[in-house]
Symmetry: C2
Subunit: 323 residues, 2 copies
């Protein structure tokens, strides 16, 4: 796969589609492999440069990702696309390396209880896994070495424990950075965040990790997703996960909305004059691929419902609004 | 009606329910008078101190408000509630005075085209109306004189004209303030606003009107409603209109969401430690009254879907979350 770092120079904010992974992980209905690839291709064609395409967990844990190898193989052929996969442990990272992903999203939970339930490990064991992964990656020539994300889930609250101490988030962010993370990703897994909290926490984490890229993974569970994005933008955060049509849910809150809506996020950023590289009209058209495969799953998104404002001119110059 | 200014001293942000007016104005189905009053009473009981209860326009223009006199009469009996009504012209203001409302919401559009279509007046004619209303109010003893809102609709964009010049918003805000407005209300009538624009415009308007209270009336048409609230909070705005369950639509965008969701707004503010005086659990329970009367109207609201976060403790101390 050709990497095209020059393309990233032309954008102000990185938006990363996580729908094929986070969006699908709670959905029992299998999304056919060819359709996953059609979705990924169409988003890449709309200008999305980074997509988390699968979770490298055992197929018996997550049958939705039984085709992860095939999806990654197909996604790698898309020019200019950075392919990310989630891994929970060293075994997953080894597969990710074999499959040639561009970016490994290692996720541990700041909540001890959530980490135990989710990956059956103490947080210190997860850190040890991360260390082993970082060491594995250092054995790979830098030209084809995947980037490594240190993801911290339940960082703004936990469905088991409730409040999560900011000191713990800072501690694990610092540890992951020291062990070799190329990016720290703060995840509000169940929608506990609020803009005030976001500002405080992200500033605190920035104090720990310096200039290492810091990303935000917000869920819209309680409607504050884009409000939290604005708070993070104020902190200088320039990397956001989202999923098309807000796909993705939460095992703890079955009726709730999922990840922040990719299409609304791109509209928000564009309206603020921040370049994402995404053609919003093309992106919205991709919803059809999701809709035809998930007929019983509610799709979210205000811009898709309402259309663009009258005479909208993309302030970021990212696209030509359809008339 | 007893005014209880002391209650307002205990809050950080004024939240004003506009559902019985803005929420209902596009809905053809008549919401029975007794049920409107049940809704208003229940919200007041949940701690909402200000409600826009009706629009004083001719009944043939808006049959939904044929019972405005009765609704205002009933609402005035609710202790501690400030009753607001929308008026488009002097005749409406005269009725508002006769009916004894606490606050008159005079609305004109910054967009010339929208003002012509909406109230069949040039903007200068609307200003002349406002002047006459302000003069009428000055003839009333101050103890029972209604407060006067200078509302500027289509202030962030217009469904006919598209972009609206900030200089025009500033001009009309200054004029309304000079003519005697007790509050300026900036309305993003069709969801054109974005956080960057909000900050710039609200700062500019503050420069024109000094310390006069400045309120924000946002619609969630394109999903940015609460993000815009955060931007306005950053400007020091402490007064927001909203409607329960996001009721209210837009004649131009029939499928779109309406006003920002009152319940989500109250959650946002509470989570940020800002006191609204509203008991969120009681407020959410009021949705049932709306739901039983508008069975075919979609209701919005993420907190109502998802519930509160695990172990949520109201940072503003406004209520006791149900366990």
């Amino acid at each position: 796969m050709e990497t095209t770092p020059s393309r990233r120079d032309t954008i102000d904010v990185r938006v990363r589609e996580v729908g094929p992974r986070d969006g699908l992980q709670m959905i029992a209905q299998f999304f056919p492999t060819a359709e996953k690839l059609a979705w990924i291709r169409a988003e890449a064609d709309a200008g999305v440069r980074e997509i988390e395409v699968a979770s490298l967990v055992p197929a018996k844990v997550a049958p939705q990702f039984v085709d992860a190898a095939e999806v990654i193989e197909g996604a790698r052929k898309i020019e200019g696309l950075e392919v990310m996969a989630l891994v929970p442990n060293l075994r997953g990272a080894e597969r990710a390396v074999e499959l040639g992903v561009d970016r490994i999203n290692f996720v541990m939970s700041v909540s001890r209880t959530h980490n135990l339930k989710n990956v059956r490990r103490e947080r210190e064991e997860s850190l040890a896994d991360f260390k082993a992964i970082a060491e594995l990656l250092r054995t790979i020539p830098s030209a084809r070495r995947p980037a490594l994300v240190g993801g911290l889930s339940s960082a703004m609250g936990c469905a088991y424990e409730g409040e999560i101490a900011e000191a713990d988030v800072c501690l694990y962010a610092r540890e992951l950075a020291a062990l070799g993370a190329n990016e720290i990703l703060i995840a509000d897994t169940v929608g506990h965040a609020n803009p005030k909290r976001v500002k405080r926490l992200f500033h605190a984490v920035q104090g720990e990790i310096g200039t290492l890229p810091l990303g935000a993974h917000f869920h819209d569970t309680r409607g504050l997703g884009l409000a939290n994005v604005v708070a993070a933008l104020d902190c200088g955060v320039r990397l956001f996960d989202a999923s098309l049509a807000g796909l993705g849910g939460c095992q703890f809150v079955p009726a709730a909305t999922g990840n922040i809506v990719m299409d609304d996020l791109c509209f928000l950023l564009d309206s603020m004059g921040l370049k994402t590289g995404v053609d919003l009209m093309k992106l919205i058209a991709v919803r059809e691929i999701v809709a035809r495969n998930l007929r019983d799953t509610p799709l979210f998104g205000a811009v898709a419902r309402a259309g663009l404002p009258t005479h909208y001119v993309s302030p970021a110059g990212s696209f030509e609004p359809a008339r």
